[in-house]
Symmetry: none
Subunit: 193 residues, 4 copies
DNA sequence: GTTTAACCGAGACGGTACGTCCAGTCTTCCC
DNA sequence: GGGAAGACTGGACGTACCGTCTCGGTTAAAC
C-alpha cells in the first residue's frame, strides 16, 4: 500500500502514512484522547491536514489503523495441550496487554469512544473484536478437538465468562488485574460445569 | 441545596439546576454524547452559560449529577430468601437498566468518557460505582447471614464474575443481554464452587 | 445630598457615593476608559453593583459627576484688566488642565466617548461645556465693559478661534501645548481684527 | 494584496477583505460605534470570525483600513491661485466631510476612540492625520511659491489656527459648521498677520 | 421602645460579545 | 495526481461584564 516516495500519481506516500500513525499513537499516549486532534497529528507528523482527510475519515480511523495487528500479535493464545494452562496464560497476557501496553491504551480509548459513537462501535466489533473473539475461542476449540470437552460445547458463553471479568476490571472498576486474580478466575471457572 | 427562588447570595436557583440536569439528560439521549454541548444545554434549559459554569466544572459533571440516585433506585436487589432467585432477578434488572433506560445511556456515556479522563474515572469509581458494588454484594451477604454460604466467603470476586460478564456484553460486544443469558450465567455460576 | 450613614429610607449613603466617584476616577487614570467597568468600580469602592445602578444610569454618568466642579475651579479666568494678559493666562491654564490633570483625563475620556454616544454628547454640551464656554467668554466681556472692545462684538467666534486650536492639539494631534504656543496664538489673534 | 480567489497559502481572499470593510462601515453608520461588534461584522460580511482575527487585531483596525484613502480623496485642496479662495474652499470641504459623509463618521469614531486608546492615537497620528496635515499645508505652500507669503513662513501654526477651529465645532461643541462660519473664519484669519 | 420601610452588601441570574481552538473543505504551487 | 501549506466557513469553548433580581442585615424616623 504505497511505496517510499513523496506521493505522486502512482500511489500514496508510505512515509506520510507511517508518520501519521506514529504521531497519533504518540499523542494519544502523551496527552490522552482529548488532546488528540487532527491538527496536532498533522503538525507532529509534518503532514498536511488534507493528506490526513484524504485517507482517513476521522481520527478514530487513524487509531483503528494504528492499532493494526497489535492485538493479534499480543493476544493469540499458545497451545500447551491443557485447557487450564492455555486459559491461565491467555488471560494473564490479556490483562497485561490491556493495562500496560501502548496498544492497550489505544484499545481502551477506542472502546471508550465507541460508547459515544455507534458507527465506531460497529466497525470495532466487526473488525478487531470479532477477530479477537475467534482467538479467545482457540483454547476451547483445542480442548474439544482433544475430546477434553464434549463436541457440542457452546463455547461463546464460556469465553465471555472469562474475558468479560477481565474487561470489567480494566474498563469499569480500574482495579489492577494481577496474575493471582486471573489464575483464581480460571480455577473457579474450571471447577464449575 | 437551593430553595425556590431565583438565586441570590443565600442560595442558588433550584429551578435552574433542575432545568440543566433535565436538558443534559434529554440531549444525551437525543443526540448522543458528541452532540451534548454546554451551549445547547444552556439554550434548552433556558439558562445562561455562566450559570452552568458557575456550578459544574464540565459537562460530565452535569451528567454525574443528573445520574443522581437513578442507579440506586433501579439496581437495589430485592431479597427472596434464596441466593439463586436474588441473583437472577438482580442481573436481569441490571441488563435492563444498562441497555434500555435513559439513565443507563448516561451510565454508558460516563464509563466511555472515563476511558479518556482519569479524573472522571476516579470520581465515578469512588462515587456511584462503589455504591453500586456494595449493592451488588447484598445477595451474597444475605446468603452468608442465612448460613447458605460460609462466613469467610470472599464475596468481591463472586460479584465480579457475574456483573463483569453483563458489562462486557453491554460495553464491548454490544450483544443483547436477554433474560435467558443472565439466567444461564447464574445457573453456571451456582453449579461451580 | 445624603448624610453620613449607611443609607436608609430617609436618604442615601454619602459614604458610598464618594467611594464610587473616587473609585471611578482612580480606575480611569490607572487603567483607562476601557478598563473602567461597573463591576470593577463596585469592587474597588466596596459597594454593591445595585447601589451604583440605583443612582447612576451608566458609567459615564459616574464620570460626569466625578468630574464635578473641577472644570470650574481650574478654568475660571482671572481678571488683570487687560485682554491679552487674561487670554494668555487662561489659555495656558486650559492647556495645563487638559494635558496634565486627572480631571483633564476624565474630560478627554468624556469627549472621546461623546463621539460614540449622542446622548452623552448632549448632556455634556448642555452641562459642563456650556458652563465652560460662558467662562471662556469672560475676558472678552470684561474688555467690552472696559470699552476696549466695541459693545456689539460677536464674542463666540472669537472664543472658538482660541479655545478650538488648543483642543485640536489635545484631542487630535496629541502634540504638547507649551506656554510659547498659547502665547503665540494669543499674539497672532490680537494682531488681527 | 490578495487576488480573486478563496484564499490559500499564496494569498488571502480579497473578496472576504472587502466584505469585512464594507460591513464595518455600514454597521458603524447604522448602529454607531457601540453597536459595532466583531461578531456582527462577521455575520453581515458572511465571513468567519476567525478570518477577521487573522487579519485585524481589533475592530478599530478594521475601521482604520476601511477609512482607507477616503480622507485623501475628499480633502485634497484644489489650487485657484489665491490663498483666500483655496482656504475657503478647503475648510468648507472639510466641514462637509466631517459632518455629513460616512467616512467622516468613521473619522469621528476613530478620534473619539483614540482618547481611550493611546496605541490607536499613535497609529492614527502617524498615518492618516500626518498625511492630512501635509495636505492642509498645500494652500500655504503654494502661496509661498507664488511669493504671496514670505519664504520663511512658519506654516504649521497657521494650519492649526484654521483646522483646529473646525474640529472644535465638530468634536466638542457639536454645532453646525456652515459655509458662513468657515468663510468668516478665513476672512478673520487673513485680516491678521 | 418597637415597628417599618428605604438603603445597603452580596451575589445569582439571563444575556451578549469576547478572543481562541479545532473541524472539515478549498485552492494553489511543487514534485 | 499526491503532498505541503495554509486560508476559508462554521461552531463550541470558557471568560468578562452587562443590567436585573432577590435576599437578609442595618438604621433612623414614625408610631
Amino acid at each position: 500500500m504505497g511505496t517510499d516516495h513523496h506521493g505522486n500519481r502512482y500511489g500514496r506516500s508510505e512515509q506520510a502514512r507511517r508518520a501519521v500513525l506514529e504521531a497519533a499513537d504518540d499523542l494519544l499516549v502523551e496527552h490522552g484522547f482529548a488532546g488528540l486532534t487532527v491538527e496536532k497529528i498533522a503538525a507532529r507528523a509534518g503532514v498536511a491536514k488534507q493528506t490526513i482527510y484524504r485517507w482517513w475519515p476521522s481520527k478514530v480511523d487513524i487509531l483503528l489503523e494504528a492499532f493494526g495487528d497489535d492485538l493479534a500479535k499480543a493476544l493469540t493464545p499458545a497451545s500447551h495441550g491443557d485447557l487450564g494452562a492455555d486459559l491461565r496464560e491467555h488471560l494473564a497476557a490479556m490483562a497485561d496487554f490491556l493495562t500496560t501496553s501502548d496498544a492497550g491504551a489505544v484499545y481502551r480509548a477506542l472502546v471508550g469512544q465507541a460508547q459515544h459513537d455507534p458507527q465506531l462501535a460497529a466497525t470495532l466489533r466487526d473488525g478487531h473484536l470479532a477477530a479477537q473473539h475467534a482467538r479467545d475461542r482457540l483454547p476451547f476449540e483445542r480442548a474439544v478437538a482433544r475430546h477434553d470437552l464434549p463436541a457440542d460445547t457452546d463455547i461463546d458463553p464460556l469465553v465471555e465468562r472469562l474475558v468479560g471479568v477481565v474487561h470489567y476490571r480494566v474498563l469499569v472498576t480500574g482495579a489492577p488485574v494481577p496474575r493471582e486474580f486471573t489464575d483464581a478466575l480460571v480455577d473457579a471457572f474450571l471447577a464449575g460445569p
